[in-house]
Symmetry: C3
Subunit: 274 residues, 3 copies
């Protein structure tokens, strides 16, 4: 039999020991759990970035894994602390601020939800500023060790769980009107589009990308499957490892080249169009 | 039965493989041990920061954990390498430069101490510059796997173990005279005070913070329990997650706002006083 | 019995969840494996730095460990994905671009090699840009769980595996003509020399280091065994923890002081010579 798995995602950084202390709390609460760090360098308070990283990662873990995620600008205020059970069997633990919602949707939706703010598993006294240690980690440990959701908190209506507004690309004739969804550390620009929305570009010899926010002409971008297909410094429209359309610069930063940030609109079209 | 736990704290950084190699040495010396990284981004050679991180973290681990910590500017010189057993059952392994002392004090004090510089568990030849790998990691593994302190080195007088001088806040009438003890990555400023020393501020509508080193008037600071209680950009005196008085700026850096570093004196008082 | 060990080395960084996802793939493929991160902050695309870190680290792990390493600027192009079994029993998994070669040489050379680009263990569809997740991690898991090399890919000629050109220092009379092999995060400058090549410097009271690329006189450097032997700011020629000659500045950066980068030639000689 294999150990229960807990994934762990935060904006805590690695400098001050916050992550290690949560590992310690889990090791005491569920010694047989294996904790896998998905990342602790989410930009501080960036719920959107944390939610996307979580949603993109969960399919590579056991279906019954517990996903512990904390990006929590509202810690100590009225926001709820929650645990979720989903249709696929995955469990989620974190603040009720939208962080968990896209991943839970991808796991078949929320089947059951609990308010864990006063969980019997919380470490007491519960601090005002470190619920990762005092509330979320011990509840994640309890779930990993087999406790049902009903043991770790008070049931709440799944429909009351905070959603996260995500943009969605649309096709407007030959033009894909998309938005920047995520920029990774290499500057690759992930769009909020589906692979099917760029399929028709497959036969187009030359594409262009433009933005109403720019005061410059469209930039040329080539369709392809991997970075090496374009010269160093050239723009590439490709399907990234999350199977989403994305724009890269071979050995460079597409985000810098395009001058864009998360949420910005981009229009992609066969060259010659706007 | 749960695995023995070794916590691991250094200033090695994560770039050059030093941490991973120590994990490898431990995995060979005590395969059943679980190693939990508390942090490897202690500022280089900052014994004070390492000692405080260690002291603040240990209570969240099993009472009989082994705490391996290496911030070691004197590696290869005359400083001793030591292992400690404490009243609470926790063991510590690291250089004898004060790094381990505050945490050992918090674990009931040093019950037994050993010089491990020539430990039979050390990897030989012992390098001059990487005792983490050659001395400290293998000794921590041996302790985690059940070896008594007397097996890993030569007994030394617990009273001979290097202490670490820590400042302590004092109350001077209505004024708390404190020092900056730790600044975390968000710029939150932890004071060297006890929660009881700021209790009387609970009823004071407005506080101020000042420093003899400043050539500006006192700054206003509000007492509260969490960041969200003050406006973005305002100063807050709160009890941090280590239950110590600290000063934060909501969504900002208190260290920058106050212009202070570790060790600087701050005076906190009801508004209108100095 | 102890768990099989997989070491893991990449240039993925820790920000975007790539490393955590690979851990998840391994946990599913071989739940009993213990994954030890050697480092994920190899400079992007720096095969040379990755190869040296790997070679320097492997001796501290079990002889039959699986070493998974991914620094892969050619991902998605024609370069092969490979798995290697070596004379010592160590296995290696990664791209066929020279990254694995120096470490495999240090493990008794390549005994067996396989092309794993179309491995039955690969996750399908195989993405064009993330072979760490889709090819290398699942193959490493299969090997750790006992699969022979013949199960994970198609046999290839060991002699066809890409080598990595590494410079080598030479003695020219009293002068050591060496090159910068690696610069660690502290700025310590490792040379491409063997300890035996600097032995004769042991009795020399004063050394100097120079470079044809400099337009300044030689710098004085003292031989010693550890940083504390020279004053803060002075240059030291010492044997580093990998038992290689290296140059450090006590409490400073030798790379900055010398103004050198990887590959640069340095000449070390008794003072007064060139």
């Amino acid at each position: 039999v294999s150990s229960p798995v807990i994934t762990f995602t935060t904006d805590y950084g690695l400098r001050d020991g916050f992550v290690g202390v949560c590992h310690g709390v889990i090791a005491r609460g569920c010694p047989e759990a294996r904790v896998i760090d998905l990342g602790h360098e989410i930009p501080a308070h960036d719920i959107h970035a944390g939610a996307l990283l979580l949603r993109a990662s969960i399919e590579y873990f056991a279906a019954d894994a517990v996903h512990l995620a904390v990006v929590d600008p509202g810690v100590g205020t009225g926001r709820r602390a929650i645990a979720l059970a989903t249709g696929s069997g995955a469990r989620f633990v974190g603040p009720d601020n939208g962080l968990l919602a896209p991943a839970a949707d991808a796991c078949g939706g929320i089947a059951e939800a609990a308010d864990i703010g006063d969980s019997p598993f919380a470490l007491r006294p519960i601090s005002a500023t470190f619920h990762g240690r005092d509330v979320f980690a011990p509840v994640a440990a309890a779930l990993a060790c087999g406790r049902p959701l009903s043991d770790v908190g008070e049931p709440i209506d799944p429909a009351s769980v905070a959603a996260l507004e995500l943009t969605r690309a649309v096709r407007d004739g030959d033009v894909l009107v998309a938005h920047v969804q995520y920029i990774d550390q290499f500057g690759n620009v992930q769009l909020d589009a589906e692979a099917s929305q760029v399929e028709r570009f497959g036969d187009v010899p030359q594409l262009q990308v433009s933005s109403d926010a720019w005061d410059r002409p469209p930039l040329e971008v080539r369709g392809g499957v991997t970075f090496g297909e374009v010269q160093a410094g050239e723009l590439l429209l490709y399907e990234d490892s999350h199977r989403r359309p994305a724009i890269a610069v071979n050995r460079g930063s597409a985000a810098e080249r395009l001058g864009v940030g998360v949420g910005d609109e981009l229009r992609i079209a066969p060259a010659g169009q706007r």
